[in-house]
């Protein structure tokens, strides 16, 4: 990056050239100012004048100070066309579609997982039957960490928080009779390596059902931040190699599965791990920038072709208006980045398209039904912020993965927002609020400021290699815990208005199934007996060589999946080839 201009510098120069036409005339502002001063001295109480700005503290908050009231005086520079525009018009602050939710409601995409591939198939079909419009597939821990169900590390973890996938046959069972050419599937692969292993299994499944890859809608996560900085793991490959696998997936998917979102830049899990909404977005943006540069190095100079399938994943939490503001800010920032830094031409590549999942960390174990209310507010903020797709966390979050009942309540929460509250009838209903516009501007500047900090460190891969990001998170969560314990952060029914007699409710949780573990082990045994061992070895060799010598690892994994190579076998090939990395830990 040295010698190169940072994004902040580029955007400041480009937007300056455009000039500004403030919404409020100097005369109007003068009149408001006089009125404001008069009101301040005659009506506002002294104590409120002294505490004009307060800093609200909440879980995962940004600690931005807030004034008592917002007026045009907090938006003196606001230029309607430059800052807001119209929906589906630059700078997209107000939304990416002209008619927003009137045209199409947000996709209701509840996570489904836990249990055997067959049971998960049942849950997916239940949600679709009740009006869900997308699939969101959670994987069990063994699958996320790329271990086969029969490895010793998997004991106690098969099928607990998601579905186990070892091979193509499991993918076939999960999606049996699900119209995968019509219903979009989000496969929560987490890591780049995991994506390289699991997604080709989905493609082989589609191929066997005779569904062409160019008909498949959906998304994978594929984010190296998840692998190297957010998730804890027994094995990591070095960040630079992990970033390469991320980009191999992007290249392969972009070329072969054109309707598929090849990455979901994952702010969500970073936020939930312990960052503000500002860092969440700055880190995702920094990754996006390095991807664009890497694809350019690989010879893909058409930035529109590359960027039009980039998608984001955010975590709306407690601070309601801030959440709305930052989604709006991020749309404008993504637009400016793509247009001014990368020279994008097509609107689609300048659209910040996002899936959101309501914050799980913000849900509490005490009086868990309260979580239905919390999640509904998070969801409402996401919708007022213009999100494309939504998962609402369930009230039993602090106990277990959602039961069928709690999962349905989450879906119903979405449907109530969509059909009963009427908030979907008008585009960007909070646009123009003095407060929300001031917050949107503040969030824009803070996100851009943190992006600048990361770029000055040499980019996001370096910021992860050096432990900068990990240190930032650890210090945030330790600080936050102190504020919860002192009561500076209020948590209802936990440290604020706590009931004198806290009774634990009867929450039905999923029991660990030894039987499922056994069935998965037996299935693997049968697979290993029936597949062509020579082909397996040959494909694993190719995969190791591709990792070491170059070429696309996703393509190598696809061939391996076809001949029955399992997930764990592919993981070991990656680890052998790249070697293992120890994350800088700042516990």
């Amino acid at each position: 990056m040295s010698g190169k201009k940072t994004t902040k510098q580029i955007l400041m120069e480009k937007t300056k050239e455009r000039g500004r036409t403030p919404l409020y005339s100097p005369e109007a502002l003068q009149k408001i100012k006089e009125g404001f001063n008069g009101w301040m001295s005659s009506t506002v109480r002294e104590q409120d004048r002294e505490n004009w700005e307060v800093t609200p503290h909440t879980l995962l908050g940004s600690d931005i100070p807030r004034k008592l009231i917002y007026t045009p005086l907090d938006n003196t520079d606001l230029d309607y066309i430059e800052d807001l525009g119209f929906s589906e018009g630059e700078p997209y602050t107000r939304g990416i579609h002209a008619n927003m939710y009137r045209g199409q409601a947000f996709t209701m995409r509840q996570l489904s997982g836990a249990g055997s591939p067959e049971e998960v198939n049942g849950r997916i079909r239940m949600l679709l039957d009740h009006g869900a419009t997308g699939v969101n597939l959670a994987l069990d821990l063994a699958t996320v960490q790329m271990f086969d169900s029969d490895e010793p590390e998997s004991i106690g973890q098969v099928g607990t928080v998601g579905v186990p996938i070892d091979c193509v046959e499991d993918m076939e069972a999960i999606f049996k009779d699900v119209p995968i050419d019509k219903v979009s599937a989000s496969i929560v692969t987490h890591f780049p390596r995991n994506t390289a292993i699991i997604f080709p299994m989905y493609l082989v499944m589609a191929e066997r059902r005779g569904i062409p890859w160019d008909k498949l809608p959906g998304s994978v996560q594929n984010d190296f931040i998840m692998e190297n900085a957010v998730r804890s793991a027994i094995e990591y490959i070095p960040p630079r190699d992990c970033f390469r696998v991320q980009c191999d997936n992007i290249e392969f998917i972009r070329k072969n599965v054109p309707k598929w979102n090849y990455i979901t830049l994952n702010g969500y899990n970073l936020r939930e791990y312990g960052t503000s909404g500002v860092t969440e977005m700055a880190v995702a943006l920094a990754n996006a920038i390095e991807i664009m540069e890497e694809m350019d190095r690989r010879g893909y100079h058409d930035v529109d072709w590359v960027a039009e399938r980039m998608a984001f994943f955010w975590a709306p939490a407690n601070d309601f208006f801030e959440e709305v503001g930052r989604l709006r800010a991020m749309r404008k920032l993504w637009y400016q980045l793509m247009k001014y830094r990368f020279g994008a031409k097509k609107p689609r590549s300048m659209w910040m398209r996002c899936h959101v999942q309501t914050s799980g960390i913000s849900l509490m174990r005490e009086e868990p039904m309260n979580n239905i209310v919390r999640a509904a507010y998070h969801a409402l903020a996401a919708i007022l912020g213009g999100a494309q797709s939504l998962h609402v966390d369930s009230y039993d979050e602090a106990y277990s993965v959602p039961s069928e009942e709690s999962s349905l309540i989450s879906l119903r929460t979405q449907q109530i927002i969509e059909a009963e509250t009427m908030v979907t009838q008008v585009v960007d209903p909070l646009g123009g609020s003095f407060y929300v516009e001031a917050l949107t501007k503040e969030m824009f500047e803070r996100i851009l400021g943190e992006l600048d900090e990361i770029e000055n460190l040499g980019g996001i891969v370096k910021a992860v290699e050096s432990g900068w990001l990990q240190r930032k998170v650890t210090s945030t969560i330790q600080q936050e815990q102190k504020m919860v314990e002192t009561g500076d952060i209020k948590v209802v029914a936990q440290n604020y208005h706590r009931a004198s007699d806290v009774k634990l409710p009867q929450v039905k949780v999923q029991e660990y199934s030894e039987d499922l573990h056994k069935r998965m082990q037996e299935k693997l045994e049968r697979l290993r007996q029936h597949r062509d061992a020579k082909q397996v070895e040959k494909n694993l060799d190719t995969l190791r060589r591709t990792c070491k010598e170059g070429g696309n690892v996703t393509a190598a994994c696809l061939e391996a999946a076809r001949v029955g190579v399992t997930e764990g076998e592919m993981r070991r090939a990656f680890s052998d080839a790249f070697g293992l990395w120890r994350a800088p830990i700042y516990a």
Binding site: E153, R231, S232, I361, T474, A587
Partner: protein, 140 residues
């Protein structure tokens, strides 16, 4: 140095496949601030945990688990602790997300403290101070 004059040494870990570390890092900070020596070994199998606990001569082993399987893993860990002869002198703690019904079961197999979400630093520190002092007395 006599055992009781030494500071308290805590080994913190997660099961091999656990993806979450927010809880364990939060607790690590709390314990360090309270003057304890914290050794964080990250994702580890029960066998690795017990082996390290022996090597480090840890007073406390804390396991953070959020994704189920706590009974299977907890049982295995304490079985190995017994086998290696450290079960009686070590305080085993577990924190994270688990069904309420599992808490008495974990205590029954030998976990001296079980901490679901919203447990406070004070509770954890007090459990460690009491638990370690009684374990050290029984060592004499």
């Amino acid at each position: 140095m006599a055992r009781e004059e030494k500071g308290i040494k805590v080994l913190l870990c997660q099961p091999p496949l656990e993806t979450h570390s927010r809880g364990v890092f939060t607790v690590a900070g709390i314990l360090r601030d309270a003057g304890m020596e914290v050794v964080y070994i990250g994702n580890s199998t029960p066998a690795q945990v017990i082996e390290t606990a022996v090597q480090e001569d840890a007073d406390v082993v804390g396991v953070s688990t959020l994704c189920g399987g706590e009974l299977v893993l907890g049982n295995e860990m304490l079985r190995l602790a017994e086998e290696k002869g450290i079960k009686e002198r070590t305080l085993f703690l577990m924190g994270g997300i688990f069904p309420p019904d599992d808490i008495p079961k974990l205590k029954q197999v030998g976990f001296g403290g079980v901490f679901p979400p919203a447990s406070t630093g004070k509770e954890i520190i007090s459990c460690i101070n009491t638990g370690v002092s009684s374990k050290r007395k029984s060592r004499k």
